[in-house]
């Protein structure tokens, strides 16, 4: 049985009450870079085992928000994060939380497929696991097959696991990166524009994959493509100039948004 996040990240923590359906949430989350605040107190509860899309114009803070969920800003000089981010009941910014363990629980897929260029397909899948533990050959084989099957890539690569990751097409490389994230058995998968570098066929494969993964994982996806948000997500958050404007079931936000700023954005009325 997989231990839950609270025991892995911070065994001593006393969980605050959270909605049982919420997997991850932020409370008054503010992020600034060199004194310039780009996220102005965002509070957002993201449901477990569902897909939450984050949309908004360039510079609205959506990627900053996403990256703050697994403390990616820790390594950025001049970055300051205040407020809290809860994974289940644990504040991931608490002093005693191990950021490396956190990122195993909250994995990330980036905009551009980034397999390790000198590694084989197999080693790419195992690279995250190898950071924290050693695996025997049999366990490694099982993990590779499971992750590649979950990422819908197994059938295409099972006969060439020793080939370099870069030998794959762009869409396959992105699914390899998803397999790499899944290999460490995360609870949350963050996706930052995962299809923006892919053609429509590869995009459809990733979107289909998102559908099949959401039963087991909580997925949070940043996308510029509103149609993609409409296709893959259950809830959508609209960000504007560092503020969360609206968080609504996806079926509603693209037909009858509550806020006029959301309406202006989704209908293409700017300025």
């Amino acid at each position: 049985m997989t231990p839950n996040a609270s025991t892995v990240l911070n065994p001593m923590s006393i969980p605050p009450p959270v909605d049982g359906n919420t997997k991850m949430s932020s409370e008054d989350l503010r992020v600034s870079f060199n004194g310039n605040e780009v996220l102005h107190g965002v509070s957002l509860a993201m449901p477990r085992c569902s897909v939450t899309a984050i949309i908004g114009p360039s510079g609205c803070g959506k990627s900053t928000f996403l990256r703050s969920l697994n403390r990616m800003h820790d390594l950025t000089s001049g970055a300051k994060v205040t407020g809290s981010v809860l994974l289940d009941a644990v504040n991931v910014y608490a002093d005693d939380v191990d950021a490396v363990l956190l990122r195993r629980k909250v994995g990330m897929v980036f905009q551009k497929p980034n397999p390790f260029p000198l590694m084989s397909i197999r080693d790419n899948v195992l690279s995250g696991l190898k950071l924290t533990r050693t695996l025997d050959r049999k366990s490694a084989d099982i993990t590779v097959e499971r992750a590649l099957k979950q990422a819908a890539l197994w059938e295409e690569v099972k006969d060439r696991l020793g080939s370099p990751g870069l030998s794959l097409s762009g869409g396959q490389q992105q699914r390899l990166c998803i397999a790499r994230s899944l290999a460490v058995q995360p609870e949350v998968l963050l996706m930052d524009e995962p299809c923006s570098a892919l053609d429509p066929v590869a995009t459809a494969r990733i979107e289909d994959l998102i559908h099949s993964l959401k039963g087991d994982y909580t997925i949070i996806i940043v996308t510029h493509n509103m149609q993609q948000a409409a296709r893959v997500s259950d809830h959508t958050a609209f960000f504007l100039q560092g503020d969360l404007v609206e968080f609504t079931p996806t079926g509603r936000i693209f037909t009858s948004p509550r806020d006029s700023r959301t309406e202006d954005y989704i209908t293409g009325k700017f300025g």
């Binding site: 009858s256 959301t262 309406e263 209908t267 293409g268």
Partner: protein, 229 residues
């Protein structure tokens, strides 16, 4: 109206659709008024003019449908734009059907033309005037995004229904007292029924305007009254 779309070509396409819908509604309103005028004044030329106008309504229906499909395929509209396009696809069906009903009335006007005038057409004229007002107010609500006016239009259908019930009995009484009038009386009953149907189509138009403005579907809900906030 609100802000315009950044993409001017898209804005232009939506404007074009809006203009075509308004033109269609205007044509149907004219057809209704003139169909009843042809009946009451026994004017065959006006009846034939109404029948000829129907092809314009049909053409506009097809052009609106084509434009809606093009916008759906090329623009993937969302929010109020999506509601507008889906509304337009339904509105053209209601308007086209109303045009057909005006043609039906004109054809009956030709059928009874030259016959002795034994019926009192006052209630039919009142129904036509009321339905004409409903077309205008549904249209105005559409132009202004006026939810209150749209809901008021929905409520007026009850007045049309009441006039239809009175007209039905009045025509029946005339046919009972004068069996010679039965042929024209049956036509008169049909005309009253078509006007009542046109009231229903106006109700559809107004309900669609509420959906456009509020994103709330009030059909079949007995909920046309303004909501308290």
């Amino acid at each position: 109206m609100g802000k315009e779309h950044t993409d001017r070509q898209y804005e232009g396409q939506l404007d074009e659709l809006r203009t075509r819908l308004l033109k269609m509604a205007g044509l149907v309103e004219t057809m209704l008024a003139e169909a009843v005028q042809a009946l009451v004044e026994d004017n065959q030329a006006v009846a034939r003019k109404v029948i000829a106008l129907d092809s314009e309504v049909d053409t506009l229906e097809m052009k609106c449908d084509e434009l809606c499909l093009r916008i759906l395929a090329l623009r993937q509209p969302m929010g109020s734009d999506l509601r507008f396009i889906t509304l337009a696809l339904k509105m053209v069906t209601d308007l086209e059907r109303m045009g057909d009903l005006a043609v039906n009335i004109s054809e009956r006007a030709l059928d009874v033309s030259g016959h002795p005038r034994v019926f009192d057409w006052t209630l039919i004229e009142q129904m036509a005037a009321l339905v004409g007002q409903m077309i205008r107010s549904a249209n105005q609500a559409f132009i202004d995004g006026d939810e209150a006016l749209a809901r008021e239009t929905v409520h007026r259908d009850a007045e049309v229904d009441a006039l239809y019930a009175r007209s039905f009995n009045q025509i029946l009484d005339t046919m009972r007292s004068d069996p010679e009038s039965i042929h024209d009386g049956l036509h008169a009953q049909s005309i009253a029924k078509w006007l009542e149907r046109m009231g229903d189509h106006c109700t559809n138009l107004a309900e669609q305007v509420v959906f456009l403005v509020r994103g709330k579907d009030i059909r079949h809900a007995n909920d046309a009254a303004p909501e308290s906030k």
